[in-house]
């Protein structure tokens, strides 16, 4: 009991500051979302209660953005899980260039997201990019050299997803590596002795034992992927219906300075993200302490 009190006394100030810094903007956003408030016309501010939410939830742009965001989230998380798992397994087994490999793998994650988005935008560009040339050569001329990646919805989404996957697979692979390292090698060896193939060992021994780490990695990545902004903003600016939820919030709040409507979008995004966390933690019983193998 005394220890708990001491714990609160020591951690209390920091906790209070964190609460103030995070709780105040959230509460402010909720309060603002109840108003029809345009920053350049403060005298016309009107209390509209939940009307902003009604407008947002019945708007085609919002649902299109939700759908696009869900598509990007699902695609990037699934692909990153597979590639990340493969990378983690390589990094686990390899002996000689272990440190170098782990450092090299981390480089994309260390690059600032905006810089990475610009690099990929120029790579996919028709006049200055290299990707069209590579695909043209590799497909022996079947792929057109003037293909406009950002000219249609699905190809633009593919470009955005590739940029995201390249950037955050290292993060996923590191989390999975931590989980992989916790699997006792004795289990694997026992299975090998019993005659299990590589795939049987993977699916029946390794993966079930690192379920905790996989779930944690999925939770973090899903939360991050749902809030995607930089890549979409830089590469398409929302053109071709590639708007994501964050971009819709940005457009209303910052570009149009309709901070009432924008706050409503932000609050809805917040609720969705909280919902995802609840689903993972309560539904899939993700235990955040299991990353450390406790």
């Amino acid at each position: 009991m005394a220890e708990r009190k001491l714990g609160w006394k020591l951690a209390g100030p920091a906790f209070a500051v964190m609460l103030a810094v995070t709780a105040y903007p959230i509460l402010n956003a909720v309060w603002l979302s109840l108003y029809d408030y345009r920053l350049t016309d403060p005298s016309a501010r009107k209390f509209v209660f939940l009307n902003n939410y009604a407008v947002v939830l019945t708007d085609g742009l919002w649902w299109g953005a939700v759908l696009t965001t869900v598509v990007i989230t699902v695609v990037t998380v699934v692909v990153e899980l597979v590639i990340g798992m493969a990378l983690a397994m390589i990094m686990n087994k390899i002996v000689v260039p272990r440190r170098i490999l782990r450092t090299v793998v981390l480089i994309p994650y260390a690059i600032i997201t905006v810089v990475s988005a610009f690099a990929w935008r120029f790579a996919f560009a028709v006049d200055t990019g290299f990707l069209n040339h590579w695909l043209h050569t590799l497909s022996f001329g079947a792929f057109s050299e003037t293909y406009d990646w950002f000219g249609s919805h699905w190809s633009a989404l593919i470009a955005i997803c590739i940029s995201e996957i390249w950037k955050t697979t290292p993060f996923m692979s590191l989390l999975l590596l931590a989980g992989l390292a916790q699997v006792p090698s004795s289990l694997e060896e026992a299975a090998e002795v019993d005659g299990a193939t590589f795939w049987q060992r993977l699916f029946k021994v390794v993966l079930p034992n690192m379920k905790g780490a996989i779930m944690v990695a999925l939770l973090f990545r899903t939360l991050d992927a749902f809030r995607i902004f930089d890549a979409v903003f830089v590469m398409t600016g929302g053109a071709q219906d590639t708007s994501t939820v964050s971009l819709v919030a940005y457009n209303q709040t910052i570009s149009r300075v309709e901070i009432g409507m924008g706050s409503a979008v932000s609050v809805l995004l917040f609720l969705i993200v909280v919902g995802i966390s609840v689903v993972f933690i309560k539904g899939f019983k993700v235990d955040l302490s299991s990353v450390r193998g406790e």
């Binding site: 029809d36 920053l39 350049t40 016309d41 407008v55 947002v56 708007d59 742009l61 919002w62 560009a125 028709v126 006049d127 003037t146 406009d148 950002f150 000219g151 249609s152 398409t236 600016g237 929302g238 053109a239 071709q240 819709v248 457009n251 209303q252 910052i254 570009s255 149009r256 300075v257 309709e258 409507m261 979008v265």
Partner: protein, 437 residues
């Protein structure tokens, strides 16, 4: 006895206090030795922040020297695109930032800033000096509800640049005004390109507006109206003619392979390609930029007035440029307007035009011999500016522009029957707060 830890602590405290005082000193007031410091937020131009490159930074230095110690003009660079410049200035002004004395504003944002009370009133005795001998479009762009609210600095317009060989082969007489249909037909017949701006950004609205105004229509038919009373002139015969031109450029493929991501830069690159270049509509900066792009056919490049939307109806070239605004919360607006008078003098406008290629707003500058030598098309720029039509002046210009960009993108999907109506419905609904943008 001072232990190791105590000594380390003392050094640490000394270091922190030095850093703190240093950074706090940087935040101190701007009343330094040589009079008041005026901060001028400038859009990036050729000179950037370098006071020797004949950009706004150099003009700032010259006006500081000419002030006789009354003020020092300090430049602050804004982001590259006009929309981002507006966002930065808007956020600061909405928070009543007293640190904004002068700002270089794109004419389309003058209405929004003026309506929101962000611009300090122009002193009555200086008004005449700011507008005398200035091209019509620049004066219109600096007015809101009949009053002058900003100071015209420089004025921009687009010309039709063309390959003389291509025009000749097509039988186009470029000494007479040409129409968009003729230009498109010429490019299509010879498999050449027309550089336009159709990416989803402000430059696209420049094109759309020029097409509509060229057909003698207007995007906004009720200038100065509030959101409920605002009426749009898109779903009209003029608007449909404009949409038809865009549809033709897209469907014939003369806009290049990546029409939906073409900005001024990509359009210029398209025109710089020897094999496929035919025509280009772009601002006059390209005249200096073409040699930098190492084009081999500079002698084959000609210029003409902006193409007509409807053959026989004079075209309305686009209008751009910069107006100088004085922040309403500035501590010394009188000094700021004094500085604005110096900045927009004919001599400085000439210096700016020679240094950065941005055309002057004062007509007398175009008669100067040096200007005529560097800009063989100076006379054409001046007449284009007198005929130029500004983009819709409304305090909701941001929403109107974004709505137009959204409905007219991608250019391949534009049709005269559906697009103007869809744009009208969207913008009206957005202004009533019933739709997200």
């Amino acid at each position: 006895m001072p232990t190791q830890r105590t000594r380390a602590a003392v050094v640490g405290v000394a270091l922190i206090s030095t850093l703190a005082t240093g950074s706090l000193a940087a935040c101190s007031s701007s009343d330094t030795g040589s009079g008041r410091t005026l901060t001028w937020y400038i859009n990036p131009d050729g000179g950037g922040a370098d006071p020797t490159k004949k950009g706004q930074a150099q003009i700032a230095k010259e006006c500081t020297d000419a002030s006789g110690g009354r003020y020092t003009i300090r430049v602050q660079l804004l982001p590259n695109s006009a929309s981002d410049q507006r966002q930065q200035l808007l956020r600061r002004l909405a928070a009543s930032d007293s640190g904004i004395d002068l700002m270089s504003i794109d004419p389309v944002f003058v209405a929004e800033f003026a309506e929101a009370g962000f611009l300090a009133p122009v002193p009555a005795n200086l008004e005449a000096g700011f507008t005398e001998d200035t091209v019509n479009a620049a004066v219109e762009g600096a007015k809101w509800k009949g009053k002058l609210v900003a100071v015209p600095f420089w004025a921009n317009t687009q010309l039709l640049w063309y390959r003389k060989s291509v025009a000749q082969k097509a039988g186009l007489d470029m000494t007479k005004p040409v129409a968009w249909d003729q230009v498109i037909a010429a490019a299509q017949a010879q498999k050449k390109t027309i550089g336009v701006q159709a990416s989803r950004y402000e430059g696209y609205v420049v094109w759309i507006n020029a097409l509509i105004e060229g057909a003698k229509g207007h995007v906004v038919t009720t200038p100065g109206a509030t959101a409920d009373a605002l009426r749009l002139g898109l779903d009209t015969p003029e608007g449909k003619k404009a949409a038809a031109v865009i549809e033709k450029v897209a469907s014939t493929g003369v806009g290049g392979p990546a029409l939906s991501s073409t900005t001024e830069t990509e359009a210029l690159n398209l025109f710089s390609d020897d094999a496929s270049s035919g025509f280009l509509v772009n601002w006059p900066y390209v005249w200096a930029a073409l040699p930098e792009n190492k084009v081999t056919f500079i002698d084959d490049v000609g210029w003409a007035k902006y193409p007509q939307t409807v053959a026989g109806t004079p075209s309305a070239p686009p209008f751009g440029g910069i107006e100088l605004g004085v922040g309403a919360f500035s501590k010394r607006p009188d000094l700021a307007y004094d500085a604005a008078k110096c900045i927009t003098s004919a001599a400085h406008q000439k210096l700016y035009m020679i240094g950065t290629g941005n055309p002057a707003a004062r007509k007398s500058v175009y008669d100067d011999a040096e200007i005529k030598k560097q800009f063989p098309m100076a006379a054409l720029i001046r007449t284009s500016l007198d005929d130029a039509a500004p983009r819709p002046q409304s305090q909701y210009y941001g929403d109107i522009s974004t709505g137009l960009q959204r409905e007219f993108s991608p250019p391949n999907a534009v049709t005269p029957d559906t697009t103007p109506k869809a744009a009208t419905d969207l913008i009206t609904s957005v202004l009533r707060g019933e739709t997200l943008l």
